[in-house]
Symmetry: C2
Subunit: 418 residues, 2 copies
């Protein structure tokens, strides 16, 4: 494969350019049937190109800033526009990567080849070496701007392009961001989150983020029974350890969670401690959730092949966008588990979650909701973009289904790198 972005590239099959080659078992390696199925899903497109009749050539993709807000704008040679709002926390750190290493793979190409272009972006310019949040978030933002463009040009919401809409509303849960506060205070905070949104589920944090100590363990042990007792037996209660534990403590805390019928236990061990996560999962009956830090398709497949997850949680940005994340959801479906994506707050992360949920059958019952806390100036005719009785309406207008304030967009300042 040529390394220059300008050349016409033939995309290798996603995740593996020699799909099917490992048929023989004579070399001592036999991929599981599940892994074979995952590979097939990885190699099968998500975007239904046939739903966009004409070619849409991408003329330009640029990044703009308007105050604290950032957005990417993809413009076709016909003058059609797609917009993706981006979180300043990421854009301020990755704009050179987007401008130098990602956009060149898309400009001048047919937007309908989106998935091939993403694969070429990964394989070209040695970008595979850059695999990680800083690369994939950039790819995700470019992808979402192009999906918005494709939906607008073809007059359909993006869920229609990504397999077809299967629901009009999505149930949400709120996650508390707090850690280290007293158990009683945290329970009050959780009650407040439920009351303001009508959410039927909440999530709270355990451990001390990527470590634990005696204070965090004391809080864990007070909080677990107190949350169940206060919210009641019918409440759906999720927990997130953010990689705090080793195997022994992960299992110890997990058994307490089981005692109080906790609905899932997210990231008991540090994200890259695979063996430890496998051991904790095998030592417990509580549903285990995880996957938000995964950036490698192969490693995600390995983790799912171990059977350790009951709920798999690709981050829609860190994992590189909606089409890649939907493939993870389809792999999850093939083994009978749920996919509840992780979403980063700020900007329009909640909207990308809603559009993901619009077309994925095996989402869990409640999706994390962080809302439009940045007050990005968008509206939708079909949705208030706010939860009511714990549900949000998924916008059904073309593309992402929201309209930006035209003045806000017009005043965006073009971002350039050195």
């Amino acid at each position: 494969m040529k390394k220059t972005a300008g050349a016409t590239l033939i995309a290798p099959l996603a995740a593996c350019s020699y799909e099917g080659a490992d048929k023989s078992t004579s070399n001592g390696y036999t991929p599981s049937d599940r892994l074979k199925q995952f590979r097939k899903i990885a190699a099968s497109p998500v975007l239904q190109k046939e739903k966009v009749k004409q070619s849409i050539i991408i003329e330009s993709i640029n990044i703009y800033q308007n105050g604290k807000h950032f957005f990417l704008k993809a413009v076709s040679t016909d003058g059609a526009v797609g917009i993706c709002s981006g979180n300043g926390k990421y854009i301020k750190n990755i704009y050179p990567i987007i401008l130098n290493r990602i956009i060149p793979h898309f400009e001048g190409k047919d937007a309908r080849d989106l998935e091939m272009l993403i694969e070429n972006t990964y394989m070209g310019m040695l970008n595979y070496k850059w695999q990680g949040l800083a690369f994939w978030v950039g790819v995700a933002y470019v992808e979402i701007a192009i999906l918005d463009l494709l939906g607008r040009v073809s007059s359909q919401p993006i869920g229609e392009l990504l397999g077809g809409r299967v629901r009009e509303q999505v149930g949400i849960y709120y996650a508390s961001g707090k850690r280290g506060n007293p158990a009683e205070e945290e329970v009050e905070h959780l009650q407040g989150l439920v009351e303001k949104s009508g959410a039927k589920a909440v999530k709270y944090r355990l451990g001390a983020r990527m470590r634990y100590d005696s204070a965090s363990t004391k809080r864990d042990k007070e909080l677990i029974p107190l949350v169940r007792k206060t919210l009641g037996d019918d409440a759906t209660i999720y927990t997130d350890a953010n990689g705090s534990y080793d195997v022994a403590m992960g299992i110890h805390i997990g058994k307490i969670l089981e005692e109080y019928a906790t609905d899932f236990y997210e990231e008991p061990c540090p994200f890259d401690h695979y063996e430890e996560t496998v051991a904790v999962s095998k030592g417990l009956n509580i549903p285990i959730a995880g996957g938000e830090e995964e950036v490698s398709t192969r490693q995600f497949m390995w983790l799912m092949d171990q059977g350790i997850y009951d709920i798999v949680q690709p981050d829609l940005l860190f994992y590189g966008g909606l089409t890649r994340s939907i493939k993870i959801a389809r792999m999850a479906q093939s083994i009978g588990i749920k996919c509840t994506p992780h979403i980063s707050g700020k900007a329009l992360g909640f909207l990308y979650m809603a559009q993901f949920a619009s077309c994925v059958r095996n989402i869990g019952p409640y999706q994390e909701f962080k809302g439009n806390s940045d007050k990005v100036p968008v509206e939708s005719l079909s949705s208030s973009l706010q939860p009511q009785n714990g549900l949000i309406d998924i916008p059904k207008e073309p593309g992402l289904g929201v309209e930006f304030d035209p003045e806000f967009i017009a005043k965006g300042k073009l971002i350039r790198s050195i």
Copy 2:
């Protein structure tokens, strides 16, 4: 742990904040003795703080550009300076990450706490989510500037600070960057590389980089015998597949390499295809080299624990600098294998390799050499910085052992991010 960079942080033990907690086997998880040893090494400092008598407070770290060149300058409150030349290919893409997410963890701190500051940088600001080349190369450049500062202030080459110098010269090999050219042409190219440097070893490329096809396989099969025949039985011949193969082809090509007594076989499978790499390694007798794309300490330990490498190759930049890479070398030593780091070309990568080699006992016989192809304006009194008879003298002056042209440094333009 507080997430703000400004706070005084207590560093967790490297790689695992609850070192030793997995003692019990009653939870069904028993780390191997090798893994336990690796964890101990990960938690043991490399930098010998006691060799720098006074505290060296870092006043500022900045990035500068002079034409195509970039460098980082670390300045102490006493006005001492350390300089790290950085590759524009990286710096142009990661300068905001360095400025926003890395440098704040070092300014105002004692440079002697370097390793704790690196660990805090990873754990702080949620930077662990950013693990990957874009993050770790920035950490590496900051680390190298600080090591230069520490060495200059204490009047010793950095090898003395990182365990003590064990050699004054290092044997080098040249790697051909070519792929896709005819076998005969490639062999001539390899001969040229040997002749110009006196190198006793060369490396050539196999496959088609992260994939293979019939043309690349044809070339592989012509090249493998031809290189051995032309360079002779005494030549040390390395090969690099850059992740081109699946298991079946990886073993097939490996057996041909064995037939022609090839000295190592690097990255047969894509870097994140761990199971496949294990299978290829177990199916062959030829020494297997790899690890240049690894960014996770836990995953590196897992790979080494599988016993698949004969030569482990952390990239001194991608893996986050010299102290982290030396820990990998020490883990390798604990299981009796060699560590031959991968180095990125351009800037002064060859110098960082030489300083690494100065203090690591278990380097392989030949280290990759890419030279000062960017013509960074530096000199050393103790080394020509060029190979002679296949060896380069490792600079022995304080710090990195080279002096930059003062005018070049003075004319550097300060780089800022948005």
